[in-house]
C-alpha cells in the first residue's frame, strides 16, 4: 500500500514538473514583451539599439542556461540564499558602504553645484527652474523606492524571507522624506511658475497619496509589536500601494494636469526634451540621490539586522 502511494506520488510530481528551461524561457519572453512595449515609444535609433541588444542578451542567456544549467541555477540559488541571510548581508553591506557613501557624496555635490551655479537659466522660467535639480531626483527616488518596496513586499509575502521584511523597513523612511521633498520643492517652484503653491491636481494629489502610503508603512511597522506580523502587514501595503506608483507616473498623460508631462527619457538626449547642458547635472544629481538612498537603506538594514539577530552568536562577536 505504502509502496503504491509512493509510486503514485512520484508519478504525479513527475508529470507536473516541467523542464527548468520552460520557466526560464517564459520569464525571459515575458520580460522581453514588457520591455518591447516600454521601449516602443522611443525614437527609432535608440529603440533599435535597445531592442537588438536586449534580444541578443536574452537569446545568449537562454542558450547559456540550456548549455550550463547547473552553473546558472546554482549561481541564482546562491545569490538568493546568501542575500537572504542576514549575516551574509551584514558582512557584504559593510564592505560596500564606504564606497557607496563616497560615490553618493561626489555625485550629489557635483550635480547640485553644477545645477545651481553653472547650468544656464531657463528661457521662460529664469532661475527658478533650478529647483528641478532637487525636485526631479527626489520624485523619481520616491517612486523607485516604492517600486523596490513592492518587490520586497512580494518576496516577503511569497517566500516569507526575513531579509525582505527588513528591507521594507529600511526603504520606507528615506522614501517618505523623498516624497515630502518632492512635494515641498514642487510647491515652492509652483509659486513663481504657476502662481500657486498647491492645487488638487492629479499628479500632485497622487504624489501626496504616495507620501501617505510611505507613512502608512512606517506606522504599521511601529504599531504592531511582533516584528514578523508587522513585516507581513507592511509587505501587503507595499504591494498594494504599487498601483499608486503607476498612477503617479502616468497621471500627467491620463488627466488634464497643470504639471508638465515628462521631458526626460531613458534613451539619452535623443528622447529627452532637455538641452544636454541642463540634462548632465540633472542626471548626476539623480544618480547621486539614488546612491544616497542606497546608503541609508544599507545603514537602516544593518541596524535592524543587529537588533533582530541580537541573540545569535555572530552578533555577539560582531558587537563586542
Amino acid at each position: 500500500m505504502q509502496e503504491s502511494r509512493a509510486v503514485h506520488r512520484s508519478q504525479t510530481t513527475g508529470s507536473a514538473k516541467l523542464p527548468g528551461h520552460f520557466y526560464l524561457i517564459s520569464l525571459v519572453a515575458l520580460l522581453a514583451a514588457v520591455l518591447t512595449w516600454f521601449i516602443w515609444s522611443a525614437p527609432v535609433r535608440p529603440r533599435t539599439v535597445w531592442l537588438g541588444g536586449g534580444w541578443v542578451f536574452g537569446v545568449a542567456f537562454y542558450f547559456g542556461a540550456l548549455r550550463y544549467p547547473d552553473l546558472y541555477w546554482r549561481t541564482l540559488e546562491r545569490w538568493y540564499h546568501e542575500l537572504g541571510s542576514p549575516r551574509y548581508f551584514y558582512r557584504f553591506s559593510g564592505l560596500w558602504l564606504p564606497w557607496l557613501v563616497g560615490i553618493a557624496v561626489v555625485l550629489c555635490l557635483t550635480g547640485l553645484i553644477w545645477g545651481l551655479a553653472f547650468a544656464p537659466p531657463h528661457h521662460e522660467q529664469g532661475n527658478s527652474y533650478r529647483i528641478i535639480y532637487l525636485h526631479v531626483p527626489a520624485s523619481s527616488a520616491a517612486l523607485m523606492g516604492y517600486m523596490a518596496m513592492g518587490v520586497a513586499g512580494l518576496v516577503a509575502l511569497v517566500w516569507r524571507l526575513k531579509m525582505a521584511e527588513i528591507m521594507i523597513k529600511a526603504i520606507a523612511p528615506f522614501g517618505a522624506v523623498m516624497a515630502a521633498i518632492s512635494l515641498i520643492s514642487g510647491a515652492i517652484w509652483g509659486r513663481p511658475t504657476w502662481g500657486t503653491y498647491w492645487i488638487w491636481d492629479a499628479r500632485l494629489t497622487s504624489m501626496l497619496i504616495l507620501l501617505f502610503l510611505y507613512l502608512g508603512v512606517i506606522a504599521l511597522q511601529n504599531a504592531i509589536r511582533d516584528p514578523r506580523q508587522a513585516g507581513r502587514a507592511a509587505s501587503l501595503l507595499s504591494v498594494v500601494g504599487v498601483i499608486n506608483v503607476v498612477i503617479v507616473r502616468y497621471s500627467v498623460d491620463w488627466w488634464q494636469s497643470l504639471h508638465q508631462g515628462s521631458s526626460m527619457s531613458m534613451f539619452g538626449t535623443a528622447g529627452s526634451a532637455i538641452h544636454p547642458s541642463m540634462l548632465a547635472p540633472l542626471l548626476l544629481s539623480m544618480f547621486g540621490i539614488y546612491f544616497l538612498y542606497a546608503v541609508t537603506v544599507l545603514i537602516r538594514a544593518r541596524t535592524e539586522i543587529l537588533w533582530r539577530e541580537r541573540k545569535s552568536n555572530w552578533v555577539r562577536e560582531e558587537v563586542s
Binding site: I131, I184, W189, R191, R300, V315
Partner: protein, 61 residues
C-alpha cells in the same frame, strides 16, 4: 560659473528666495534623515554592547 558674482548667485534674478528656501529645507531634511539613521545605528550598537556585556558577566557568575 554662470553668475558674475556670489551676490548674483544668491539673488538669482528675482528667484533667489524660492530656489534657496527650497534647497535649504530639502537638504536639511535629507541630512536630518541620514543623521537619524546613523544615530539609531550607533545607539543600537551601544545598547547591544551593554546587554551582551551583562550577559557575559552573568554567565561567568
Amino acid at each position: 560659473m554662470y553668475f558674475d558674482s556670489f551676490a548674483e548667485l544668491w539673488q538669482m534674478g528675482v528667484h533667489g528666495p524660492f530656489v534657496w528656501s527650497a534647497f535649504g529645507i530639502c537638504v536639511a531634511l535629507i541630512l536630518l534623515n541620514v543623521g537619524v539613521a546613523v544615530y539609531q545605528g550607533r545607539r543600537v550598537r551601544r545598547d547591544l554592547k551593554r546587554i551582551i556585556r551583562r550577559q557575559i558577566m552573568q554567565e561567568k557568575q
